[in-house]
């Protein structure tokens, strides 16, 4: 059967063009891949290649014709030995089959940008089962808790390994990987050169095959060199592969301000990573959460950003003595019950939240303090359950205010519990400036307990 040659498009947006030149004449033999004509738009010229073989039986649109609509038959190819004359009647050129039009269908709920809906009467997550009363506990620093989490998971699973700068022989720039080289050897505790972009990519590549790398960044400030691999490769591949290629990897290291290290070593990236679907973002405060969440992160089949804090490394907390102690990712924790105002924070922000709650109690204001622990997915339901009780909320973070995590918390409360609010949600954040070096300025740039107290009083109209 004769085959129509259709007017092609240079791009999906092209609707018509000029058939500038035929390079074959009627009766010529045409092979697949032969250039048979040229078309032109105001933007470019394109060659039309034959896809089928045969004889150019008929030219339907002549050289130089302007405004030829895309998909109009411009010529007819007949197979060898076919009756060419039969094809010469333009009537043979049947209208081009219309490409299947993608139907514009609305996606089903959830339509709102909020990835999860909160029921009308929200229920708070009960963290008491994580840390049973009467459990045997050890007192340890956050640093030791993180180390133990990695060691336990490496004992449990041979696919888990640690890589990063100074993680092995130096025993960790902040001593978080202390002793791991001695126990697990150089194949599983790997010192890398100073090449964040490269070793993050190597970690992601290894994870795509099913290994479970823990990639340590000496600080998350340096992970900016690697952020393409974290976002474009680790976070998106599962979706882009239709669910085939998971990426079980943990990126961890200290994040945010330490002390007097200036703008390039003090950035809090919680908000950045929490913006990206495909990632989980964890930012623990206590040693027990650090341990239980890091163990969960290592076992998680998804890429997890695990944000630590240099100042918290040396703080001491009680941690359950158990290799099976896990804290689920995506669950907040009510760390201090109260009735008058909800203060929600995470990571080192908890020091301001807890300090403020203590100060407020002395003035007769009982604050309920929630540690988010995971930024993404965010357990907004636990926050909302609290706000439904207190009707007031202050959100606290060390990061910058614009598009920050506290901005997200405020929006989510408005979406889920607007009618419960007796005051607008307030936030206390790092100031909107690069971190200064001078001691007095640095102090001003960070949140403090006084600011949280003031915000709490403001929302209580006190």
């Amino acid at each position: 059967m004769p085959i129509d040659i259709l007017m092609p498009a240079l791009s999906p947006t092209m609707e018509q063009g000029k058939l500038s030149k035929w390079l074959k004449a009627e009766g010529d033999t045409v092979k697949a891949g032969d250039i048979i004509a040229e078309i032109e738009t105001d933007k470019a010229t394109m060659e039309v290649e034959a896809v089928d073989e045969g004889i150019l039986a008929k030219i339907l649109i002549a050289d130089g014709t302007e405004n030829v609509a895309v998909n109009t038959p411009i010529g007819v190819i007949a197979a060898e030995g076919e009756d060419v004359s039969a094809a010469s009647k333009p009537a043979v050129a049947k209208p081009a089959e219309k490409p299947v039009e993608p139907e514009a269908k609305a996606a089903p709920a959830p339509i709102a940008s909020a990835p999860q809906s909160v029921p009308a009467q929200a229920k708070s997550y009960d963290a008491s089962s994580e840390f049973p009363a009467g459990a045997e506990v050890a007192t340890m620093t956050v640093r030791e808790a993180l180390r133990d989490a990695m060691a336990e998971e490496m004992r449990r699973d041979g696919d888990v390994f640690v890589m990063g700068e100074e993680v092995a022989e130096y025993q960790g720039a902040y001593k978080v990987t202390q002793g791991l080289l001695q126990e697990f050897g150089a194949k599983r505790v790997i010192d890398t050169p100073i090449t964040e972009h490269g070793f993050a990519g190597i970690g992601v590549g290894a994870a795509l095959t099913g290994l479970k790398p823990i990639v340590e960044f000496m600080t998350f400030n340096f992970a900016m060199q690697a952020i393409d691999q974290i976002i474009n490769s680790a976070a998106k591949t599962l979706y882009m592969s239709g669910g085939q290629m998971g990426c079980p990897i943990v990126f961890r290291g200290p994040n945010g301000a330490a002390a007097r290290v200036g703008a390039q070593h003090s950035h809090d990236y919680a908000a950045w990573y929490s913006n990206v679907p495909g990632l989980k973002v964890v930012m623990p405060y206590s040693a027990s959460d650090a341990k239980g969440l890091l163990k969960s992160a290592i076992r998680d089949p998804n890429p997890v950003i695990f944000l630590e804090n240099e100042i918290l490394y040396g703080r001491t907390f009680e941690v359950p003595k158990s290799d099976d102690f896990l804290v689920p990712i995506g669950k907040a924790k009510v760390v201090r019950p109260g009735t008058d105002v909800t203060i929600v924070s995470f990571g080192i922000g908890m020091t301001y939240a807890l300090g403020a709650a203590e100060a407020l109690a002395k003035e007769g204001i009982e604050a309920e303090v929630i540690d988010l622990r995971t930024i993404r997915p965010m357990d907004i339901e636990t926050v909302v359950a609290s706000v439904q009780k207190t009707n007031r909320c202050v959100a606290v973070e060390e990061g910058f205010p614009q598009s920050g995590v506290t901005a997200e918390i405020g929006m989510r409360i408005m979406e889920a519990a607007f009618d419960y609010l007796d005051a607008p949600v307030a936030r206390v954040t790092g100031k909107d400036v690069p971190m200064p070096y001078a001691a007095n300025l640095e102090k001003l740039a960070l949140p403090n307990i006084g600011e949280v107290v003031a915000a709490a009083k403001a929302v209580c109209y006190r």
Partner: protein
Amino acid sequence: MAVAARKTKAPAQPKAAAKTAAKTGSAKAGADKGASKALSNMPTFDKAEELHAYREMLLIRRFEEKAGQMYGMGLIGGFCHLYIGQEAVVIGMQMASKEGDQVITGYRDHGHMLACGMESRGVMAELTGRQGGYSRGKGGSMHMFSREKNFYGGHGIVGAQVSLGTGLGFANWYRDDGRVSFAYFGDGAANQGQVYESFNMAQLWKLPVVYVIENNRYAMGTSVSRASAQTDFSRRGLSFGIPGEQVDGMDVRAVRAAAERAIEHARSGQGPYILEMQTYRYRGHSMSDPAKYRSKDEVQRMREEHDPIEQVRGRLTRDFKVSEDELKAIDAKVREIVNDAAEFATHDPEPDVSELWTDITLETARA
């Protein structure tokens, strides 16, 4: 299908001689018309190998022509980068590979997928954004994967696949499973910083990776000489001590012979190896490229004098006395596969709207 993972009686020459051979081969790339006169060191194929290479390269060629046509009809959206002209590179590499070796590449990936044995239907349906595509329509031309066929993408960020491919090699080293990863990238990507970070670690840890630089002379519209201070890409690993060679990437026999040397080096624990494949893309960078940066004569000369498929076809008829009818039968078979893929990709439904919200994260297994 496809991957005839045969160990050939390829030149068992000493390494130094082999290298010279490859260099000579590439130097001749410009003069070796249709490869009728056998160079003394030119690796040869037997009839079955020539037929295999012919069919596999033809499948890529016809598939890409069809993709170009379907793009023109508005069935394929976004970007679409065709591999036409470069077919010998991936086919020669795959002919030297072993079951389990991994492949990773950039955005010009259709040929690599077909060479890995992925189904034409699934690839074409991904191009049209349909549910039967390898990524169920969620990846598109540049983002396709097959764990089953050890194809790790399909990456849209130029150069990212080099670090990822090094990570595949790292996993092979970690598991000590004898696999080799092939990380393909272009002359453009070869200037990205992470390429050298990866070279350094791959050589430091002796990772089994073969870096295949497909030098098709243009990074989008910028010619190699306008973008690269060192245009001999086989030397790009020299400061790390990574061996490399330039290969006539239009001659599938030269590609396979070089691939065998490189793979042997990597598999035997000696670390990475660089192959600069000197090749050429006939089409524009993407479908919307008017290709004003090079002359039509240049393209025409490459097509007429160095076409990788015509070279094999010439040898088949001349040296192996394969009849036109036999070749036509292969052509017809290939065309049938491609037409079937196109038909499938045109009528397969778009993904269910519920797919919008799936595959974002995996469920956490209960511990």
